[in-house]
Symmetry: D2
Subunit: 136 residues, 4 copies
């Protein structure tokens, strides 16, 4: 199978922008050719997601507070973290797909909804009650 | 702020393909103008992610097994689910960003790694030991 | 209602009744002699708990709906489940302890609070709006 | 090592020692009289547990590192935390019960297993490879 639009010719490697539909398409093919679709009920995928969130948490569990950019983390630790972040994302994409929902659209809509819910504070509409604790 | 590349002119609404970089960019702006960056340490975001996974789980908790496509779910329930799936994704994107990692690249790399780890079974290389329980 | 005390003399095996204080005491000694107390900050323990909840979820993730009593589970699977349930409990006890809270007392109080919040439905005060979805 | 029994006569308040069987018994009665047993399948309870772990995490999510004993937390915050810790415990007890497992026994056995797995380091058997990261 060919994935078009890999038009990052000449750009530095890390800037190829991956879309949620691309991940969906690749995962659908991956599961289908292996016969794994049969296991992908919503609650199975949700529990698999929880399992991966657990593995993600294990990476951070004994570290105390961790600085932005992961100072002093080894390359191996960062790669491990990339894998666990990815596993969470991949199960999230699979879960949205099996539910028939468009995750990317939904996420954009949620950002817009949050932008309305939490208006930007300026010197003229300073609302000290606003804080991210309420950001649901 | 303008987001370019909305080149889904004429396509049905739900097919606009959202990328992970776009979500990152929008979230970065969202947080920056609200002064919320200061709260976005890796472990804070991780715990926020766990909180959202909890809310996602609550949607499914009393339902027993749920069929693909969410038969018999109301529109309101599906919208609620879209919001919680989105919240998980948005915190995951923020977490990857604050760690300095490219989530989309990492996810693609993980799919490729899994494809190698779990080769497709054909009649000639039938490996019955393969099953998704091991898919980490 | 009377809750008999812990002297399970003459009852069948497996009825030795373990208390939360006993677990606290044993865990405190366990950690102290190994010098692990230094790692037991509240958020470290919380993330360790999340990690164990992930492992617990992995046991159930590909099984579809599971019947009460775990029909058809092997002894090995049940032992594995016992270990993961235990790990969640032990980190929960450690977390409560490091926060200076009495988990057993708190749990009893929560049951009483819930009993008031969700009064028993009888033919004379039948409230169909009551259901466990709201049980927080 | 001796663990004194549960008769905390004469000890200060908050030392009433709650046992896991007592919680089981109370929860069984609570659910039975409300007709909620029908919802208590293993995976329903597991997802409810994950939901409560999410609520527990939300308490800690924007706080940065938190000190032992929760310095500077208000009484209201501590009570909220007690409730969420309790909710996790109560669903854990219900889950163990519906699986037919004895949570207290299992937890004691796990402590013993861990004590063997991680022998105490003394000046004569100093094993620097030992650390809690491996404590599963």
């Amino acid at each position: 199978m060919e994935y078009p639009n890999n038009d990052n010719n000449g750009l530095p490697r890390a800037t190829r922008d991956v879309s949620l539909h691309e991940l969906s398409t690749r995962l659908a093919e991956f599961s289908q050719v292996r016969g794994w679709d049969q296991y992908h009920s919503p609650r199975n995928l949700l529990l698999a997601l929880v399992g991966e969130v657990g593995e993600l948490s294990e990476i951070f569990q004994w570290k105390g507070e961790v600085g932005k950019g992961l100072p002093n983390w080894s390359s191996a630790e960062k790669e491990h973290l990339e894998e666990e972040l990815s596993d969470v994302l991949l199960y999230l994409v699979l879960l949205a797909d099996v539910c028939g929902l468009d995750l990317g659209q939904a996420a954009l809509a949620k950002i817009i909804k949050n932008a309305i819910k939490y208006p930007v504070i300026t010197p003229h509409n300073n609302d000290h009650s606003q804080n991210p604790t309420n950001s649901k």
